[in-house]
Every structure is written in C-alpha cells, then in structure tokens.
C-alpha cells in the first residue's frame, strides 16, 4: 500500500471557486485510481487554501495488477488453411504480441475463431500518474479561466507556480503547464520563510502548519469561529452575526486566519442598518456585531490572513477605511434626499434597462400596466384562487410602487452599492413619507434573489416582483436572448425561479401563459418591439423554459420525486399552485398498493393505444358502445368509469386532488380483471375498436391530476 500527495500551488484562486475546484480535483483523482485499478479502496482527503489545492490519498496499490485476457481474432478457417497459418494468423499474432504457435481456437455461436491469451503487465502507479494526472488537472472546470503563458497554451484558473507530487517518499514526475512537480511546498507568503521539503505524503498538513498554512478549510473555519467568539468578548453581551456565505469566503481568503475587533463612531448607526451591513459584509468582508437585543452595535470583526495585530496597525487601518466608506454612504444618503423618488421617474429615461429594450422609464411604464391587470385578476380570484380566501390588494399603492420601483437606480447610494437596489428605494420611500404598502413593495421587489431567499412578504411586493421579472424575461425571449447551457448573462433562470417561488408561496391565481402574453403585450408600440425577432416561437420557448424551472422547484425545493413531477407536469405546467397541490396529492397516494398497480395499468393502456395508433395510423377515439361489449369484465370497467368519472371531475374542480386520486384508485379491481380476462386486440375490428375506445376514455378522464404512466414503480 502506498500514499500519494498532490499539491497544486498557484497565484491566489478566487475564493468562490476554491471549494468546487478542490472537490473536482479529488473526484478526478479518485476516478482515475478506480479506472486504472490502483488499489481496491483508496481513501482521499482534499485540502485547499487560496494558494493551493491538494489531495492526499492512502491505500493505493504500488502498481497495477497484471490482467489476463483472451483476445479474439479472425475466423479460424481464414487463419489456417489445411493446418497452415495464413498471413491473417501472422498479422493477428503480431498485433497481440504472441507467436503463432501460442494462438488457440475458440468456439462461438458464430463459428470457430482464432484467439490469444495475453497478459497485460500492470504498470507502476507512479508511471500511470505521471502520464494521466496532467490531463485530469487540466480538465478541472473553472467558472473563469485565463492564459498566462500566451495563446495556445493551457487555460487555468490562475497561473500555476509549483507542484508537489509524492508517492510515499518518492517524486512522481508529473508535468503540467510548464511546471515540473517537485517534493517541496511553499509556506505562508509573509509569515514563513519560504519552502518546505516533504518526505512523506502523510506529513503534509503538519509540516505546512509549521509554515503557517492550515491546509484544511474546515480547520480554518473552526479557528476563525473561535477567533471571532474571542474577539467579540471585549464588547459586553455582544455577539457577531452569523453569516455562512461570508464565513466561507474568509475561509477561502486566508491561509492562517485570526480575527480582530474594530469600532466605528456610534453616530453612523443613524444610517439604515441595511446600508451599514452591506458596506461591512459585501465591501469589507467584516462580520457585523449586534447587542443582546439584536441591534447593530458600533463594532465589526475582520478576519486576517496573519496571526495577529500586536501593534494595532491593522485595526487602525480597517477602521480608517470603514470610516471613509460610512462617510460616503452618509453623504450619498443626504444628497439623495434632495430629490424625492417621485421626481426621479423622469430621470429613468436616461438609464438603460437593456440596449434593445430601452430605458427603465419604459420598463416602469410596462410593469405599472402589468401589475394593474394582475392585481384585478388576483382580487377576483380566478378559478384557481387559494381555497376559500378573498384577497384585498392596495391597488393604487401598487401602481405607484411600480412607477417608483426603479427610481433608486438614479440615486448615488445605489450607484455606489448596486446590491442595495430596491432596498434603498424602499428605505427612501419610507423616509419620504410614502405609504407603507408602497415602500414595502419597492423594498421587496427584487426578492427572492435565490431559492433560499424569501419571496416578497406583501402581496403588493409579490405582484411587483413577478411583473418586473416577467417583463425582463418577456423582452429577452422576444429578442431571442434565451439562456442556454451555462450562458445566462441576464440571470433569467434566477428570475424565473423567483416568479415560480413567489406564485407558489402566495398561491396566486396567475397562469404563466396569460402572464407572459400580458408581459409581451406591454411592449406593444415601443421601439423595442421592432427588434423582436422571436415572437412566433415566444409562447413555446417561454413555456418550455418555465416547465424546467417548475420541475426544478418541485424537485429540488419541494422535494418531490422526479417521476411524480413528470406525471404532474405532463398534465399541465401553466398553473403553479395547482401543480404544487397535485404534486402533494400524488406524493400522498403513490405509496398505496392500489396506486402502484394503477400506474402500471395506465402505462399498459398508453402502450396499447400507441401501438394501435401506429398500426391504424389514426388516433383512437374515446367512447364506448355497450352493445358491442362481449365480456363482463369489459362491461364492469365501463360501469365503473361511468360512476367515477363525474366524481373525479367534481373533486378536481373543487381542488380536492387527493380525493380525486383516491377515486381513480377505485378502478384497480375492475382494471385488473379487465386485463386478466379481456384480449383488447380482438379479431373482430368493431369489438377491438370499442375496447380501445374504452381504454382511451379511461386515460382521458382519469389523467387530469397527473399522468400516471410517468410513474416509475418501485419494484
């Protein structure tokens, strides 16, 4: 058994790419070991810091095992004529590297063939790695990569500066990107005096720690959390605000972390907390500190890439920077108040939304139009409204909010802190005495920014958010700017996810087809409309796009199984709350034995109908003529269908999908008997067609909640 260590040393890797890069390297290395039969159960530990990715693998074979195999050659008759080898036999022997006398004969169903038993010699692990690892390293996916040695060389996340590759005590002679692997690594840029030689892979973490590099991200995280806990203690009863994303960022920005507490003048606390926290977190990567009541305290915590700040110089420097940033923010806040949001609507004419879609002024006009209609639809409830609740929408406020929602793009504060768009508009609306419904809707209208983020809380915010996002998607799709693969420059997938989540959580009676017809119609008469080249495909491409988003939502966010989702969406993907409710109902009944059988029967029906259709070339009509029935089982099925069908329609209309499905399950015994006793494809054409018509009706009438044929049975 052997241990292997690989370390790639680089210029600082972007923090956001480190975790995925490390995991992919580990996976590629392990896949390679498995593919090349280098050990039965090797164990891998992956390490990373801003300057390195590393994997330590234990339990490796020192060399591949030899493999014996039998290779088949030409037909024996061709290879030997009258017991004498022909050139075909010579060629085969030469190809597989044995003498003709060593060749054997094998019998197969196709006849007798020439064969050779050969042993492929296993190669030394080091040799295999040296040959194959460079390709694995070069194959790692990076969200953004670069050249550094000129065109036609490798692209990688950042320039590779050194490589260490050790198999037990020995160098593995790898080469990648012009760098030859060695047996030395480098320590912390500033706190170590350079390089360290390794004798054994297992020493990696220990030796590097002496060089002021903690190679395990998990360990750095622990150290940071402890340091933050400790640093915050000097402020009575305060605690630091947890922030997973920020923690992960600072873990990936440091090799030997510590933390310091800094302070700012309490007078800045008069600025909105959102602004202060954004400056600290997004711009300075500081953790915010709050008092026992959860209120922001005038302190911050910075995570350092050195082991301390004995002279207080670092604290002083960070405080100085934060002061300048807060000063700017305060200056912007005060300046912005001189022009109220209402006076900024006109200024939106000078702000581009998208080069072909015009200005934000035009966007505001469109979304004000769209929300007005949406609000009316939602208030009237539609047939798909939430069960038994009438909803009141502050329609005038919503209309005003739509016009004002984008005005904060003209403010200095948003120009400086773009991530606060919407939030700043909401804060200004409040500060300028606008009604809370207006301020809240503006504040929330970019939400949800991800599937983890909450949907807008207020109904007005929800509608504004939907209208804004639908407007963007409609315009881009009409221009043909449809996301594909990793290309989604306008983050339309995220916006569509936002629409799905918002409609689902508010159970809004909004049909996607209707919403997007409305959103496109809002562009009518605009300059943008003249550039729309994809209007014909529009409805279809939007529907396909949303079907994917809805699938993602139901599966990954709501946790439904993929076949349940397929079954539900096959029936309809336009009405989101309905699709969610149907999924819930389906998931609840699918475990019952009746249901599993029903699903199998429906699949069978679908196949029978498809085959019949292929044969006759015409679709099978639904219906049943009792007088043509020849079998009791046939009549029994028909009677049951007649009995259940109206019930299912009623329950479906009342949105009691669970009960509807339980009704459908009642078909099981008669369906089972039908398939046991009745031969659908009867000789007599009329009898056959009548049976097919009955099955077609079963499929049509009872696939209104879900298409059961999509269900994959557990057995």
């Amino acid at each position: 058994m052997a241990d292997f260590l690989l370390e790639l040393g680089m210029d600082e890797i972007p923090a956001r790419m480190i975790d995925s890069g490390r995991e992919e390297l580990a996976k590629r290395v392990m896949d390679l070991f498995a593919r090349e039969r280098l050990g039965s159960a090797p164990q891998v530990t992956a390490y990373s810091t801003p300057r390195r990715l590393a994997v330590l693998v234990t339990g490796l074979a020192e060399r591949q095992e030899d493999v014996s195999e039998q290779l088949t050659g030409p037909s024996y008759k061709v290879a030997f004529k009258d017991g004498v080898a022909t050139p075909a036999a010579d060629a085969f022997a030469k190809k597989v590297g044995v003498s003709v006398s060593e060749l054997t004969k094998v019998s197969t169903t196709k006849g007798e063939y020439l064969a050779a038993n050969v042993t492929r010699k296993g190669r030394a692990t080091s040799e295999v790695l040296a040959e194959l690892l460079p390709k694995e390293i070069g194959g790692i996916y990076w969200a953004k990569s670069m050249y550094w040695r000129g065109k036609n060389t490798e692209r990688f996340v950042r320039p590779l500066r050194w490589m260490m590759a050790l198999l037990d005590g020995k160098l593995v002679p790898l080469e990648f990107a012009g760098i030859k692997a060695g047996t030395t690594s480098r320590g912390h840029r500033i706190m170590s005096d350079g390089t360290v030689r390794l004798d054994a892979p297992g020493d990696y973490a220990k030796k590097l720690e002496k060089m002021r590099v903690i190679v395990s991200g998990a360990q750095r995280e622990k150290k940071i959390v402890a340091a933050l806990d400790q640093a915050v203690q000097s402020v009575g009863k305060a605690r630091w605000r947890e922030d997973k994303a920020l923690l992960s960022t600072v873990v990936n920005l440091t090799e030997f972390p510590s933390a310091i507490l800094g302070s700012f003048d309490a007078e800045y606390l008069s600025l909105p907390e959102e602004v202060l926290v954004t400056v600290m977190r997004d711009h300075q990567k500081y953790f915010a500190v709050e008092d026992a009541g959860g209120k922001l305290a005038p302190h911050f915590l910075a995570v350092l890439n050195v082991d301390g700040d004995p002279d207080g110089l670092i604290r002083h420097g960070n405080e100085r920077v934060l002061r300048a940033r807060f000063n700017d923010a305060r200056f912007f806040w005060e300046t912005d108040q001189k022009i109220p949001l209402s006076a900024r609507v006109e200024m939106l004419k000078a702000v581009t939304f998208q080069k072909d879609l015009g200005s934000y002024y035009e966007k505001a006009r469109r979304i004000a139009h769209v929300v007005t209609i949406l609000a009316a639809d939602v208030e009237s409830g539609g047939e798909n409204g939430p069960r038994g609740s009438a909803r009141k929408i502050a329609r005038n406020e919503l209309y005003e909010a739509a016009w004002l929602a984008k005005t904060d793009l003209t403010t200095e504060l948003v120009k400086e802190f773009t991530e606060l768009q919407g939030v700043v508009g909401g804060l200004y609306a409040r500060a300028q005495g606008l009604k809370p419904a207006i301020a809240d809707a503006i504040y929330q209208h970019y939400q949800p920014k991800s599937m983890e983020d909450a949907a807008p809380k207020s109904l007005e915010g929800a509608l504004l958010s939907i209208a804004d996002k639908a407007d963007s998607i409609a315009g881009m799709f009409a221009l043909g700017l449809i996301p594909s693969g990793s290309k989604d420059p306008f983050a339309l997938r995220r916006q569509a996810n936002g629409i799905v989540k918002t409609i689902a959580e508010h159970e809004l009676p909004i049909d996607l087809g209707g919403l997007f017809a409305l959103a496109l119609a809002a562009y009518k008469g605009s300059d943008a409309e003249k550039r729309f080249t994809k209007v014909d495909e529009y409805a279809g491409s939007v529907a396909a796009f949303f079907r994917e988003r809805l699938e993602f939502y139901l599966r990954d966010v709501r946790g439904f199984k993929y076949d349940e989702v397929n079954a539900v969406l096959a029936v309809g993907a336009d009405n989101i709350p309905d699709a969610v409710q149907r999924s819930e109902a389906l998931a609840a009944v699918r475990k019952s034995a009746d249901f599993e059988t029903i699903a199998t029967s429906f699949k069978r029906i679908k196949n029978i109908l498809r085959q019949a259709q292929e044969k006759s070339g015409a679709a099978v009509e639904s219906g049943f003529e009792p007088s043509l029935a020849t079998d009791d089982a046939e009549r029994a099925l028909h009677a049951m269908v007649e009995k259940i069908a109206p019930e299912v329609v009623r329950l479906r209309r009342e949105k009691d999908h669970g009960a509807a499905l339980r009704e459908v399950a009642k078909l099981r015994p008669v369906l089972d008997t039908f398939f046991d006793k009745v031969m659908v494809m009867a000789e007599d054409q009329r009898v056959r067609e009548n049976r097919l018509a009955l099955l077609s009706r079963v499929l049509r009438d009872f696939s209104t909640v879900a298409d059961f044929s999509e269900i994959v049975s557990a057995g």
Binding site: A15, M146, Y147, Y286, D309, P310, I314, D328, T352
Partner: protein
C-alpha cells in the same frame, strides 16, 4: 497607536520610490501621457504596447481624468483627477506577485505588521475591447492596487500575456501618512525652508495635496458638470472621430495597395481615439447623453480602439517579419 504620519513618505517621495523600485527591476520609466485619459491603461504605453510579441516592461505615472467622479473638492476620497502608477510587465516573471510585495516593502510597509489579501477582481473595459483576470490587492481592508493579467486588448487576444499593476497613489499615500482626507496628504517638504520652521519636523515646510491640487478639482468640477459646452463637445467628438476613422481606413487602404505601412501614423490615430473617449466621459458627466446615444457612442469609441489596435498589431508584425527578413535580404543584395 503611534501615528505613521511623521514617518510616511510624502506624495512625491512615494512616486520616486516606486519609480526607482521598478526601474531597478528593469522597467523603462516613461512619463505620463500628454492626452487626457481615464486610466493608465489607456496610455499607449499600455494599450498599444501589450499588443504583439515584443517583450516590454515599463513604469509610468498617469494622472487619470474621470469627469463624473469630481466632487468640487469636497469629498475626502473622490477626485476628478487621480494619480496612478502603472507598471506593465510583458511577459510577467514567475515571481511577479513576490516582486509586487517587495515594492510595498520598498515604500515602508512592513508586511509582517499588516494584513494583505489578493481578492478576485477581474478588469474589463468595454470601450477598449479589453479585459483581464486578476485581483484587487487589499491592505488592512483597503484596495491599494489593481493587479491584472491582460487577456485581450482592442479585441485582440494577447500573446504574450502582460501583467498590469495599477497603484492608486492618493489612497496609498493617505494610508502611509495616516490621514483621512486626500487633501491632507503631504505632497512635499520644502527642505530649503527647514530652518525657518520647527526644526524637529523633518524636511521643513509641508506642502499639502490641497495646496497643489484643490483648485483644479473645484474648477474642473464646475466645468465638467456645469459649463462644458455640450454642443461644442459633440462637435469635437464628431471631428475627432471622423479623423481617427479616416486614419484607420487609410491604413487598411495602404495595406491593400501594398504600400509600406511602417511610417503610417497609427499612433496619431490612437491619440484621436483617446480624445473621443475623454469627450464621451465629459458629455456623460454633463448628463448630455441619452440612453440610445450612449450605446451608440460607446460602440463608436470601441470601434475606433479596436481599429487602432488591429492596425497597430498588424504594423508591428509587418515590422517584425521585416526585421527577420533583413539579414537575408542583405545577403541577397550583397
């Protein structure tokens, strides 16, 4: 805390020190370019020199004008014209980051007492058709340098790659001197004046950044935001654009006619392109560019920059192959 104020380099000492450092690393010291630019990258010492195969290392100071950033001299951190020290290393040495860290030590920063991080920050200039991969270098939470591996310039893929280091000198100096406002930076100490003043202070009377530059910030803010004649700016833009375009087209025509292009004034075309870029910024600060115009003008300036870059790269490679051929040509002629 012990104030760094009395020990920090003056603004001009900071410039001397960095220039000396990079000169010792083999950089040519160039002077600031004498046409208005928004960033050191726009100087031909970067924009054009990174094109083509010839190795080149240069350091220069570049006052950079961004009309919209002016704040009438009121904001302690924002300037209409700030000073960049730009270093181009083409191609960059293996230890380019270590070299950069040594430059910080050269200006008196003890890295063991500070917190330094390289945080991802990729640079892109749509108007120049240029982009690169790199970092903002953070020192105690402050961005002190933009560090970029250029990938493309003027729409041309670069080979070799250049490393570009851009130091924001006002910020860096305010940090070294521990002052909160750039206007309080000590620009110079008048050594000849020292006897008349407090002898304990090193070097005599202090001349601040405010004394040297404040009036310029105020007056240019007034001009850029209030008084620049919009009609005339548009007219200038049209004229410069037309001439630049004519030169670019002329280059293509000369090539087509198989004329010798070695002396063709591609460099002059670039000056005209820079003029356009500055006028665009000025009109933008004046709020005189509508949405539709904006997209159009950016595309125009980009077309000029790309046109110049292509012509320049072509001219360089023509000279390159000419240089390579000349010995043979000499033999043939002899």
């Amino acid at each position: 805390m012990a104030s760094a104020k009395t020990t920090g380099l003056t603004f001009q000492e900071l410039i001397f020190t960095l220039q000396k450092f990079w000169a010792e690393q083999g950089c040519i010291l160039q002077q600031p370019y004498d046409v208005e630019v928004g960033a050191g990258t726009m100087s031909p010492e970067t924009f054009l020199r990174v094109l083509g195969p010839k190795p080149y290392s240069v350091a220069y100071l570049q006052p950079s004008r961004r009309p919209a950033d002016g704040r009438y001299g009121d904001n302690p951190n924002r300037l209409f014209k700030h000073t960049q020290l730009q270093v181009i290393l083409k191609p960059p040495p293996q230890d380019v980051q270590e070299l950069y860290l040594r430059s910080l030590q050269a200006i008196g920063i003890d890295l063991r007492k500070h917190d330094l991080k390289f945080e991802e920050d990729n640079w892109e200039s749509p108007t120049l058709g240029a982009w690169g991969i790199g970092w903002q270098v953070m020192l105690d939470g402050m961005e002190v340098t933009q560090f970029t591996y250029f990938q493309q310039c003027g729409g041309v893929d670069l080979d070799p790659i250049s490393a570009e280091l851009t130091y924001g000198l006002e910020r860096l100096c305010a940090f070294l001197q521990d002052v909160d406002s750039v206007y309080d930076i000590v620009w110079a100490r008048d050594a000849s004046d020292s006897k008349k003043h407090d002898s304990k202070k090193q070097g005599g009377r202090e001349i601040t950044y405010r004394e040297v530059r404040h009036a310029e910030e105020v007056q240019f803010s007034v001009y850029n935001f209030e008084q620049a004649d919009v009609e005339k700016c548009w007219e200038h833009l049209r004229l410069y654009e037309a001439e630049c375009k004519a030169l670019i087209d002329g280059y293509a025509a000369a090539k087509k006619a198989k004329q010798d292009v070695a002396k063709y004034p591609v460099l002059a075309a670039f000056d005209l392109c820079l003029k356009c870029s500055h006028l665009f910024n000025l009109l933008d600060a004046r709020g005189a560019i509508s949405v539709t115009e904006r997209v159009g003008v950016i595309a125009q300036v980009r077309a000029l920059a790309v046109g110049v870059a292509k012509a320049y790269a072509d001219q360089q490679s023509a000279q390159e192959s000419g240089d390579a051929q000349s010995p043979e040509a000499a033999v043939a002629n002899g």
